[in-house]
Symmetry: C2
Subunit: 334 residues, 2 copies
DNA sequence: TCCTGGCACTCGTGAAGTCAGAGTGCCAAG
DNA sequence: CTTGGCACTCTGACTTCACGAGTGCCAGGA
């Protein structure tokens, strides 16, 4: 049904349309790409591709443009991922290696991605729950107030202030450190509940009340509803593609302000082995129906770019992959 | 030179233009506002106002619009600040009071401001250097590695990891806490250098090497170049006023991505007693020449809104003032 | 001295009409 | 299955035109 030439025609349409932003007609297509067939033949193929829903034309006498379904096919079967030049690789590496701490890594990644792809870049901070505990410090702020400081292997530091119902002594705090520390060290926070479940029973009775308070905070705040953070950049690039958005940028900008939405886009892609692409309508978020997302996990978090469906998928996929890998390596090595 | 009626005409022009976004002509102006004079008279006044540079017309047969200079006069002398209704005040207060921690306060403020004003809102986190130290904790992560955790009275928690050239013992760390703690507690970080300058001399000789390392980190990272943070929101509102921007939103969005630029806009307004307004060309930042900024300090930081010069200054000023006051109170009381 | 009505003039806006070009679909022939 | 030919469609750019809002100026009146 879809023989090789038809696929080739689809690829040509996508590539031309992406680079020129103009509906592509049979004639220009036939001559620009060396298809070796006449425009009339291309027209027949186009008619079939349209019947199958891979392309449309905005109006009768205009060229064809890909549909979401067409882009999907292109991404899945037609685009060959561009390898980055070694110069590019080196540039990425050296740019990221200059980072001094986690915040810096994240910000540099955002900047890098948005510059490489000319799109909006989104980078999730390493998720707490998927990171390992390197250190849990309990600071005795006041007789009834503790500060928990959690440091993970990905360099993220998180703190919570904890108000206790009763008073605790320095000695209690010291003991708390001793019971929590060894059980959490080197563990993923996801596994913390299991590691801590027998704690109240094992601890000396005098310590139990305060211990259960601390335990519940650790579990609820750090494990069950950990605060996920996200950095975003390159929104100005949206104006670059303003023509690609049906009405205005408004709904897109609004969606980008919703952390939750972004997390959904980026955070659910945990898989650090392949790049995931969501195209237009595939996107569940209202307001991002005219955008595509290219995302990948880097280990304890995810990152990606967002832009109009008319984007350079091949290029963006390879950029996202490259950055994700470097970031993953960087954080794993730190 | 500018008698009362001419000022009244200017006010009318500004108000009409702000609300309708259409150049205002002599006739509609004369009848809509009860000026009690004929359109011809208004025309004469307009001619004079134009000669003085307060208004222009885009082309010969169009009405007048205010210039930056006109807005400036309007803001300085003509706009009477709207008092917020008590319902609005209550709404602001209850919205902000629901915040659970500093991050929440800042995010809620941004959201509140952008919704109240329909503009882009910017809120600076309480500046470290202008906050008081509530607690400085030194955590012994590893033999040659310390974690400094600083907690301020405005609820901000900042941490730095510190690699030492040599090894330190638990006991050393304990002593460090004792020398730093009392000297910093209740002090503003700005004053820290003075409070700490005699420290190396006063300390026991064995502690000096590590103490000077810690000291230099405290001074450089927390005092000299403290990491200022900023939250921003409501960028989608820019599209609401897209017509007001000469070409595209691009330069504005680009400027908004530069933390440094925003800090310059918001951070330099420390004065928590009055609202500062920068109009169009007054703005030093290239790319924000077509925008106005309404900002105010709230104590240890600043906040404000940014929008097209054609904005409701009176309304925005009162919103910014109200939010700044509530935030200031909230953080001072916390 | 200042206000007012009148009047000619300017100029942008929007409607309507025209036209060329790109592109299509279909058909019959190779 | 491919190809050239041909009639058809539709957009976008361009022009023209009339309208009307708005101005500037002037001369007369308070």
């Amino acid at each position: 049904m879809l023989d090789d030439r038809k696929l080739e025609v689809l690829r040509a349409i996508v590539e031309d349309f992406v680079s020129t932003n103009e509906p592509v007609g049979s004639k220009t297509l036939a001559e620009r790409h060396g298809l070796g067939v006449s425009p009339a033949t291309v027209r027949n193929d186009m008619a079939l591709l349209e019947e199958e829903g891979f392309i449309t034309h905005p109006h009768t006498s205009a060229g064809r443009i890909p549909t979401d379904k067409g882009y999907r096919l292109f991404v899945d079967r037609l685009s060959q991922v561009k390898a980055l030049s070694s110069a590019e690789k080196r540039a990425i590496q050296s740019f990221l290696e200059g980072a001094v701490d986690l915040d810096d890594v994240v910000h540099r990644s955002v900047r890098l991605l948005s510059q490489l792809t000319q799109q909006v870049a989104v980078v999730q901070y390493p998720s707490l729950s998927r990171s390992e505990v390197r250190h849990l410090e309990i600071v005795h702020l006041a007789p009834n107030r503790l500060l928990l400081v959690l440091i993970t292997d990905s360099g993220r530091v998180e703190q919570r202030v904890l108000e206790l119902p009763g008073l605790v002594s320095d000695d209690d705090v010291h003991q708390l450190r001793n019971v929590f520390g060894p059980r959490l060290h080197g563990r993923k926070l996801l596994d913390a509940p299991k590691a801590l479940e027998d704690l109240p029973d094992a601890a000396p009775p005098s310590l139990r009340p305060v211990l259960t308070s601390v335990l519940s905070v650790v579990l609820s705040a750090l494990v069950e509803k950990p605060e996920e953070r996200i950095a975003i950049g390159g929104t100005a690039n949206l104006t670059r593609h303003a023509l690609d958005f049906p009405q205005t940028l408004r709904p897109v900008l609004e969606a980008l302000e919703e952390q939750v939405v972004l997390l959904k886009l980026i955070g659910e892609v945990n898989d650090p082995t392949t790049v995931h692409v969501k195209i237009g309508e595939e996107n569940s978020v209202e307001g991002l129906r005219s955008t595509s997302v290219v995302a990948m996990g880097y280990g304890p978090g995810g990152l990606g770019v967002l832009g109009p469906t008319r984007m350079d998928y091949a290029g963006n996929i390879s950029s996202v992959r490259a950055v994700a890998r470097y970031v993953g390596d960087l954080l794993a090595g730190a």
